[in-house]
């Protein structure tokens, strides 16, 4: 039966005898309340009233504590969280995310006994009944591929480092190397989600958002949480990195990471168009804010406050971002330290330099993504490139922070979403091999405020396949990062879907005290 036009919702095309209906008339129709709509709404009102009386005040006020119009727009919904829980060692953090899964056996997890086992089969006892990825599950054998590169001992700690990382080798006495990091997921998307948000499924806030929510901003003119993506190298096997990884999930979208572009304008449409000066822009924003406040007063959706805050942040970023990305005043010593790549916008080195500038300016959390570590094949061909792109830059960032006195209260984290297998994926030859995903152990490092310098934590077996000592699960890894920033991971929670949600999830997580200074 054909519906009466007045009964349709405004989403549907209204058509009366095939005649073109003027848009204005359609709007008018949809604005008219029909008897049916009125009765339907009254029913809901009664339901809501009943629910409100059951829940008391809380149901009416929602969760937007402190969302009254007088509170500063920079922190709607944040309220008084009482954070940090204890005096922090680090005020800010920089996370160098090695997307794809760096092969620990070729970088920092030295296994001298493997050389004699070239092309031998992995013992079943080591592999156990672990599930493999679809990429190698069908392989008839799992031949051991010793690292192509030699390792040497460096520093006073005598840490073994691959020849691929000559710069990292120079700072081992400062690093906290974790050989026993392990995770639950074996494929990229769930694993990278898990490392960043503590959950394999998208929709949870990431580490940076939790920090922004929990600790707030240090600089009103810059975002609290900035994400820098590194331009991809087409020769590498780049796995996608999406904004889900810096999403604020169920937290206010104000706490989501702000991505700076890797080329051209760092933030699109930040500059005022011709003919619009800052005064006009200001007046426009004031008017928009007024409308938004009315909406907020009427509807009570905390997201409206987030939107107001974001407009204001964008306005302030018009001045602060050009200053942030202007490298012309950097002294020569910077270029000597970082090397020529630092002048290439979008390179990992350039991003590391930006991260240092952000640390100076009070950005709470900077996350740099470097893709391409997914070396399923041609490890010998691609790994030197990947290391060349990141090794010196990581060293330069740490050294730069250190000499400027920023490393005392900045935590730098270097990690991927998982490690790689010791056995070769695909053919193994004396010249080349491939490595598949491996979640059971991978090597990460931290340095700076809060962590113990010059130690190697955790151990893997002779095949870098299982953790044999001091495991650091991804959950505990995140709990430890929070601890460096003065946060008790059990107490930084947000009530959502009936659960006190937290970064480390509902399962118990522990801070790894052995890593803390």
């Amino acid at each position: 039966m054909k519906q009466h036009p007045l009964c349709t919702d405004c989403e549907r095309e209204v058509d009366v005898n095939g005649l073109p209906i003027p848009v204005g008339l359609k709007r008018e129709w949809s604005a008219v309340e029909t008897r049916r709509q009125f009765l339907g709404r009254s029913g809901k009102v009664l339901g809501w009233a009943a629910l409100a009386s059951l829940f008391g005040d809380a149901a009416l006020r929602g969760r937007a504590i402190g969302a009254d119009t007088k509170s500063p727009v920079t922190s709607p919904g944040r309220g008084n969280l009482g954070l940090p829980h204890f005096a922090p060692k680090a005020k800010r953090a920089i996370y160098l995310f090695m997307s794809g899964g760096p092969p620990q056996v070729d970088l920092l997890d030295y296994k001298p006994n493997l050389a004699s086992q070239y092309n031998k089969d992995m013992p079943d006892s080591v592999r156990g009944n672990q599930q493999l990825t679809g990429m190698t599950a069908g392989q008839s054998r799992f031949p051991i591929a010793p690292s192509h590169w030699a390792f040497k001992q460096y520093g006073q700690t005598g840490t073994w480092v691959s020849d691929l990382l000559p710069y990292t080798a120079k700072m081992v006495d400062d690093l906290t190397i974790i050989k026993s990091t392990n995770t639950d997921a074996i494929n990229h998307e769930p694993a990278i989600m898990f490392m960043n948000t503590g959950n394999m499924n998208p929709g949870k806030p990431c580490l940076g958002s939790w920090l922004a929510y929990g600790l707030g901003s240090m600089n009103d003119n810059l975002p609290t949480f900035i994400v820098l993506q590194t331009k991809t190298n087409p020769k590498e096997n780049n796995q996608p990195v999406s904004s889900r990884l810096w999403s604020s999930g169920f937290l206010s979208s104000e706490y989501a990471g702000v991505g700076l572009r890797s080329g051209g304008d760092p933030v699109l449409y930040l500059a005022d168009p011709d003919g619009i000066d800052r005064e006009v822009r200001r007046r426009m924003l004031d008017a928009v804010e007024e409308i938004n406040r009315q909406t907020q007063a009427e509807v009570g959706d905390p997201e409206t406050n987030a939107r107001i805050a974001q407009y204001e942040m964008a306005f302030r970023m018009q001045a602060s971002v050009p200053e942030l990305t202007d490298l012309s005043k950097e002294p020569q010593s910077t270029w000597d330290l970082y090397g020529p790549d630092a002048k290439q916008p979008g390179s990992f080195t350039y991003n590391c330099l930006l991260a240092r500038r952000m640390a100076e300016r009070g950005v709470r959390f900077t996350q740099i993504y470097k893709r391409g570590w997914d070396v399923h094949g041609d490890v010998v061909g691609t790994l030197p490139t990947l290391c060349a792109e990141t090794d010196r830059a990581s060293y330069a960032l740490v050294t730069d922070l250190k000499r400027r006195g920023l490393l005392d209260d900045t935590l730098v984290v270097w990690a991927g979403e998982f490690g790689r297998t010791v056995y070769s994926q695909g053919g193994l030859s004396p010249e080349n091999y491939g490595r598949d995903h491996h979640p059971r152990c991978f090597t990460t490092w931290m340095v700076g405020g809060g962590v113990k310098p010059g130690i190697t934590y955790g151990e893997t077996d002779d095949y870098s396949y299982n953790v044999v000592k001091d495991p650091v699960h991804a959950r505990n890894f995140n709990a430890t990062i929070l601890a460096c920033l003065g946060i008790d991971h059990n107490r930084l929670t947000y009530d959502f879907q009936g659960l006190d949600q937290r970064l480390t999830g509902p399962q118990p997580a522990t801070v790894i005290n052995g890593l803390l200074a």
């Binding site: 204890f86 005096a87 006073q156 600089n219 006195g405 005392d408 934590y457």
Partner: protein
């Protein structure tokens, strides 16, 4: 009647004699030689700690009943029963304890003291049972109280030895105040690598089974000489060869391995601790060497705990007002008010000068960190800063500070961190800061005072 009692007594004496011989002979029949004997012995033996508190309670109850019986005779009558019950429980407890030691292969002075103490205690209890009727009949009044007192002393001593086996010999004295603590004395003195790093690890992780209390496998690790002597499997440390040293081998096995040490789920050694032991053995495993190649301890300067500042909560309205007027913020270091406040100026750095800083002087005692980087403050601000008596960290990088007034900061006893990077300071003007012993981090990057080379950090 008298003859009958004499007969009972004679047979009782025979029983006691036999039982005492059996008890005393046990250690010679089943020598505690450090070898484990059968799991079922251990299985039963592990009920020893469960059972043992019952006879202890009963034995202690006996003198209580005897004394209380002076007022209420009914209680004194019960003492005989309690005494017999305590013996009835003490004997199986002893048996289980022996099974535990024999089954698990425990040896050592504490174990044998504990055992002999228990033998004495059991014999004492038997004698008490025999002598008590003589006291009741007033034939012999002194022997029973003397025997009971002796048994109680034996009980205390035996119990203490047992506690030392379980918890370690310094369990009671570990937290004792200074003078008392001297009594325990298991610490290795000296600043050698062994005394500082190897002995404490062994003491914490190994000595509860391989020490004076209990020396499983006849191995003791509580002193250097004992360790070098080795155990029943021979030497555990081969100087210069960590791979050949049993000490290293046993702690680096797979945790599931039956020979993995520490056994029975006790806390394993950390990889760091193992690396120290390895390096120490490689370097010759001497008792005296103070440093070992390959081991560097990251600045072990335990930072003294921060001085708590007063509670600033009552000043919050004033602080908010100030923040509103000046744009600079006073941010709590943490949820704990005594952790103090951070002065944060980054949002208004270009307009924040000496006059603005001076306005924060009224909050001076609560400010523990001043972030003044790239502000407009000058040397004159040192007069304000010197009143921030709890200041721990001072950021002055990129300011117009020339350093002429830095000497005024010398009175800041809590100051640990000063960053003067990118300022006009000279080697001479930072000299007063370098003299401050508690100032651990002084950053002079990009200044005329920067030390030669790349090391921007100078630790006075």
């Amino acid at each position: 009647m008298g003859a009958k009692r004499a007969r009972v007594r004679r047979s009782a004496w025979v029983w006691i004699g036999c039982a005492s011989v059996v008890l005393a002979a046990l250690p010679f029949l089943f020598r505690l030689d450090g070898n484990a004997h059968g799991d079922w012995l251990q299985f039963l033996g592990r009920f020893h700690p469960t059972l043992l508190h019952l006879p202890i309670g009963l034995i202690v109850l006996v003198p209580v009943l005897e004394v209380a019986g002076a007022r209420r005779p009914a209680l004194r009558e019960a003492a005989d029963f309690v005494l017999r019950a305590s013996l009835a429980l003490a004997l199986p407890t002893f048996a289980l304890g022996y099974m535990l030691a024999y089954g698990a292969g425990d040896t050592g002075t504490t174990v044998s003291r504990h055992m002999w103490g228990a033998v004495v205690l059991c014999i004492g209890l038997m004698l008490c049972i025999v002598m008590r009727p003589l006291r009741v009949s007033r034939e012999q009044t002194t022997a029973y109280p003397a025997l009971l007192s002796a048994s109680l002393l034996a009980l205390i001593w035996t119990g203490h030895q047992g506690g030392s086996i379980t918890h370690g010999s310094d369990y009671l004295t570990h937290y004792a105040p200074g003078p008392l603590h001297m009594l325990s004395g298991s610490k290795e003195a000296g600043d050698s690598f062994y005394a500082q790093h190897i002995h404490p690890v062994l003491d914490a992780k190994c000595v509860s089974c391989h020490g004076s209390g209990s020396a499983k496998a006849d191995l003791r690790l509580d002193s250097y000489d004992d360790m070098m002597r080795g155990g029943k499997d021979g030497a555990v440390v081969v100087a210069g060869k960590p791979e050949a040293s049993l000490l290293v081998a046993r702690v680096t096995l797979q945790p599931g391995d039956p020979h993995f040490m520490p056994a029975e789920g006790r806390t394993p050694l950390t990889s760091e601790e193992i690396s120290w032991i390895r390096a120490w053995i490689r370097a010759g495993a001497t008792k005296s060497a103070t440093s070992v190649p390959g081991v560097k301890f990251a600045r072990e300067e335990a930072e003294p705990p921060p001085q708590p500042v007063g509670d600033y909560s009552s000043l919050m309205p004033e602080i908010q007002q100030m923040q509103h007027a000046l744009g600079a913020k006073l941010v709590p270091m943490s949820a704990k008010a005594s952790d103090g406040l951070i002065l944060r100026t980054v949002d208004v750095s270009s307009s924040f000068g000496d006059a603005q800083l001076a306005q924060f002087q009224k909050f001076a005692p609560y400010i523990v960190e001043a972030e003044l980087a790239r502000t407009a403050i000058t040397d004159a601000s040192c007069d304000t800063l010197k009143t921030f008596k709890n200041l721990r960290a001072l950021h002055l990088e990129g300011t117009a500070i020339s350093g002429s007034n830095l000497g005024k900061l010398s009175s800041l006893s809590q100051l640990r961190y000063v960053n003067l990077s990118g300022t006009k300071v000279t080697a001479q003007s930072v000299e007063p800061l370098k003299k401050m012993s508690q100032l651990r981090h002084l950053y002079l990057f990009n200044t005329a005072a920067e030390p030669e080379g790349t090391a921007a950090r100078s630790t006075p």
